[in-house]
Structures are given as structure tokens and as C-alpha cells.
Amino acid sequence: MHWFKYFVLGFILCFLIESCTVVKPYQRVYLNDREMQMGNDAGKQFEQHVQDIRESAYPAGSSANAGSCGCN
């Protein structure tokens, strides 16, 4: 699994290197599309809620808060 750790680290380093080009406001037609946003729609949020209660892992990057919930 060592190669996987280096892969993830390299992936993260790609983020840390800032983009060389600046996207101007009038060039953001694709970035401003609803589907390109990092958040989730209501259906996706519910699916993540299901994953949260049925798996031990907690989904990062979601709007949910850990803790509570029944659903036995």
C-alpha cells in the first residue's frame, strides 16, 4: 500500500501548486454551472446520509454533522 500513499500525496501536491492561469470572470461559464459545484443536491445528500449510517466511515466534505441518528 506504500505506492498508494505516494499516489495520494502526489495528488494532493498537485493542488498545492497554484494554477498558472487565472480564469477571468467572463471565462467562468463552465465553472459556474450548477453541476460543477462541490456541494451536493438533496438526493445526493440523502444517499450520503445512508452511507453514514450503514458504514462505519463518515463522509467528509458533506453538509451533515457526525453524531446521532437512529435507523437500526
Binding site: 495520494v8 495528488f11 494532493i12 498537485c14 493542488f15 497554484e18 494554477s19 492561469t21 487565472v22 480564469v23 470572470p25 471565462q27 467562468r28 463552465y30 465553472l31 454551472d33 450548477r34 453541476e35 460543477m36 459545484q37 462541490m38 443536491d41 438533496a42 438526493g43 445526493k44 440523502f46 444517499e47 445512508v50 452511507q51 449510517i53 450503514r54 458504514e55 462505519s56 466511515a57 463518515y58 463522509p59 467528509a60 466534505g61 454533522n65 457526525a66 453524531g67 446521532s68 441518528c69 437512529g70 435507523c71 437500526n72
Partner: protein, 402 residues
């Protein structure tokens, strides 16, 4: 000659005075805009399996959940947004029915109700948003009081965003809330109520959420979201049974503190002009010995600007917690033990489809339908648990000019 210059000057001066008066007589007035968005969501979750934790890792896990959720966001005076989220879950669980071993009874119906209110303020002339909120949630077997506070910063070039948030929840796992004839108490399996198995009935959760997004190009954006969660108190479920190798049984027992570290890396890319590919990798580790890795891919095709079709697939692998063992495999000498298959080693597969419709509204003076969404997903866990998830949502937007 002088007369020409004087005449020309007077003509220019008259034009200047006319222009200034025209500007000062303009009827333009700055209007303050307020917007309201109301989102309605209806969801269904139905599962079936044969490893119920209520009966020690064996038995039916049949469960149906019907969810109604309403979310209202009202933006006023440009920089302020108030939101209210409320919902009810109706839960029908065959395994909950087995806490008291009521023979030939219908599955118990339970409900979970929650309210959340939040306020967001964008700082004037600064790309910073501050968000805070609190809520309430209650079900037959718990009462929760969550709070949260977060700050978002967008760089001046809008190429990066930074998020920092903190959330906490205080949960009370006692039953009997709101019922006059029943005392507030932890509920154990009927045959194990001869003693108090836990010293506390509360669970405390503290969560640190961070996020960083980076625009890579005109069509690609990436984000990384590491979080840290600390939980303490009653982390086991009081009505879960555990059977041991010597045929004895006890109530589930887990450590009273848990450190959890989830991480998500997302990449959204617009391919060509109609196709969007959304990728997500998830990593998870905690002090219970659970490790998880997930990969999710979602493709969205914009058939028309207002109409999109989507399909997604998710694979998740989890290693078992050191405290998990199946039915009748725990030794009586163990201190912490569970037979809840949510802590077991397994793979899960989820495949889903959906469509989204964004109506074009020409009349902006009235409330308008902003979006309609329908999603279906099939969820399968390698220990034979399977589930269907259906969600239907629509949102209404209004705009008021003052």
C-alpha cells in the same frame, strides 16, 4: 475672432450644464434585492439483510424509511441569509421489533423529527462569509442538540476558497421522551434489563471541518476536505445484543471515546460542452481499527441546457473494527465487543441514475420553479445487505425588489 471663441465657449458650457442636469434628474434608484428559496425533498430508503445487531448479528434487517424535508433560505439586505431546515423521517424497522421479542406483531413505527436554523453573513467589501446555526433532533431512542459555526474565504482572484468549521452535538440516548407513562431511561433488550450496563446516557461529538478548493482551468476544479471528529460518552447502542462462545449474552460494549479522521478529495471536470465528470475519493480511519477507502464517479450529460441525465457508481472497502466478531464468536474475556455488521469487513457497491430539470422562467415577478430532481440508487453490501434509495426534490425561488 474673439466673438467666435466666446460663442463656442457658451455653446460648450450650455451642453455641459444640460448633461449634468440630465444626470441629476435620472430616475435610477438603487434597489435592494431579497431572494427566497424553498426546497422540498421526499426520499425513500428500503433495506433488507440478515445480520441484525439487535439479535446479535443474525436475523432480519428489514427497514423502511420515508423522509420529508423542507429547506427555506431567505437572503435579505444583500449580505444576510437566514435558513431554516425541518424534516420528519418515518421509520419501520423489523429488528427494533425484536428488542422486546413481541411475537407476530407488525414492525414498529418510529419517527425522527429535526429542526435546524442558521444565519450567514457576508462581510461588507470582503470575500468572507460567516455561518452559524443550531438545531434539535429527536427520535424514540435519542435526543440531539447540534450547533455549528463556520467561516468561508474566497481569494480575490476567485481561484481558491478556504473553509473552516466547527460542529458539536450533545445526544441523549434515553427512550421515553414526551411520553407521560414511561420514565426516561436507556432501553436494553428485554431479557437483559436486570442491571444498568452503562454509566452514562449521553454522547458528545466534536467535529473540525476544513476545506480547500482550487480552480485548475476554465473547466476543472478540485477540492480537498479533511475533517477530524472526536466522540466521547456512550458510543455503543444499548439495545444491541452480543452472543459469546459460551452461549451467554450481554449488551454491546464499546470504548467511551473515538477519534475519526475522514478525508475527501473531489475533482469536477467539464468535458467538451455537455458532459461533466465528477470524481471523488474518500479515506477514513479511526481508533476502533476501521479503515475505509471509497471511489465514486458520476457522469452528467446536459441533454439540453435545462435538462440533465446522470449516472453514478461508488465502490467502498472497509476493514473490520478490532471489536467486531460475528454471532457467538466473542470470548467472554473481551472487554469491548459488538456484532453490529456496520463495523465488519466488507465491500459496498452503489449504482444510481437520475435526471435534473431546470425550468426557464420568463416571469421573474412571481415565485418560479427553480429545479426538479429525481434520483435512484441501488446499494449492495458484500454481507448480503441490499437497499434501494429514491429521492425526489424540487425547489421554488422568489425574488423581491424593494
Amino acid at each position: 475672432m474673439k466673438k467666435r471663441y466666446i460663442l463656442f465657449g457658451l455653446m460648450a458650457l450650455s451642453q455641459l450644464i444640460k448633461a449634468k442636469s440630465a444626470f441629476s434628474d435620472t430616475t435610477f434608484q438603487k434597489k435592494k434585492l431579497s431572494k427566497t428559496n424553498i426546497d422540498f425533498a421526499f426520499s425513500y430508503y428500503g433495506q433488507n439483510g440478515n445480520n441484525s445487531a439487535v439479535t446479535g448479528g443474525i436475523g432480519t434487517e428489514k427497514l423502511s424509511v420515508y423522509v420529508i424535508n423542507v429547506d427555506v433560505k431567505h437572503q435579505f439586505k444583500e449580505l444576510n441569509t437566514f435558513s431554516l431546515n425541518s424534516g420528519i423521517d418515518i421509520i419501520s424497522s423489523a429488528s427494533t421489533d425484536k428488542i422486546d421479542y413481541r411475537v407476530s406483531s407488525a414492525s414498529i413505527l418510529d419517527q425522527r423529527v429535526h429542526f435546524d436554523a442558521a444565519y450567514q453573513r457576508q462581510l461588507k467589501n470582503k470575500p468572507v462569509k460567516i455561518n452559524g446555526g443550531l438545531g434539535l433532533a429527536f427520535e424514540s431512542d435519542y435526543f440531539a442538540f447540534p450547533i455549528h459555526l463556520s467561516v468561508d474565504y474566497t481569494s480575490p482572484s476567485k481561484m481558491q476558497t478556504y473553509q473552516l468549521g466547527f460542529a458539536a452535538s450533545i445526544d441523549d440516548l434515553r427512550w421515553g421522551r414526551g411520553k407521560k407513562d414511561e420514565p426516561l431511561t436507556l432501553v436494553y433488550p428485554s431479557e437483559l434489563r436486570y442491571k444498568d450496563w452503562y454509566d452514562t446516557h449521553n454522547r458528545y461529538t466534536y467535529q473540525l471541518k476544513t476545506g480547500f478548493t482550487q480552480v485548475l482551468s476554465k473547466k476543472v476544479i478540485m477540492g480537498i476536505f479533511p475533517e477530524f471528529i472526536f466522540q466521547k460518552g456512550l458510543l455503543a447502542t444499548p439495545f444491541h445484543r452480543v452472543y459469546f462462545t459460551d452461549d451467554s449474552k450481554r449488551v454491546e460494549n464499546l470504548p467511551t471515546f473515538r477519534f475519526r479522521f475522514p478525508l475527501a478529495i473531489k475533482l469536477n471536470a467539464f468535458i467538451d460542452t455537455r458532459f461533466i465528470l465528477k470524481n471523488q475519493y474518500g479515506f477514513y480511519v479511526d481508533n476502533f481499527g476501521v479503515r475505509g477507502n471509497s471511489i465514486e464517479l458520476e457522469g452528467v450529460v446536459k441533454v439540453k441546457p435545462q435538462f440533465s441525465l446522470l449516472a453514478n457508481f461508488r465502490f467502498y472497502h472497509q476493514s473490520a473494527s478490532r471489536y467486531f466478531k460475528p454471532y457467538k464468536e466473542h470470548s467472554i474475556d473481551e472487554i469491548f465487543y459488538t456484532s453490529d455488521y456496520d463495523y465488519a469487513k466488507y465491500n459496498t457497491y452503489k449504482a444510481g441514475v437520475g435526471f435534473k430539470f431546470f425550468p426557464i422562467n420568463k416571469n421573474s415577478k412571481k415565485a418560479m420553479m427553480d429545479a426538479i430532481l429525481l434520483r435512484y440508487a441501488f446499494y449492495y453490501r458484500s454481507n448480503k445487505l441490499q437497499a434501494h434509495v429514491v429521492s425526489f426534490a424540487f425547489s421554488i425561488a422568489t425574488e423581491n425588489k424593494k
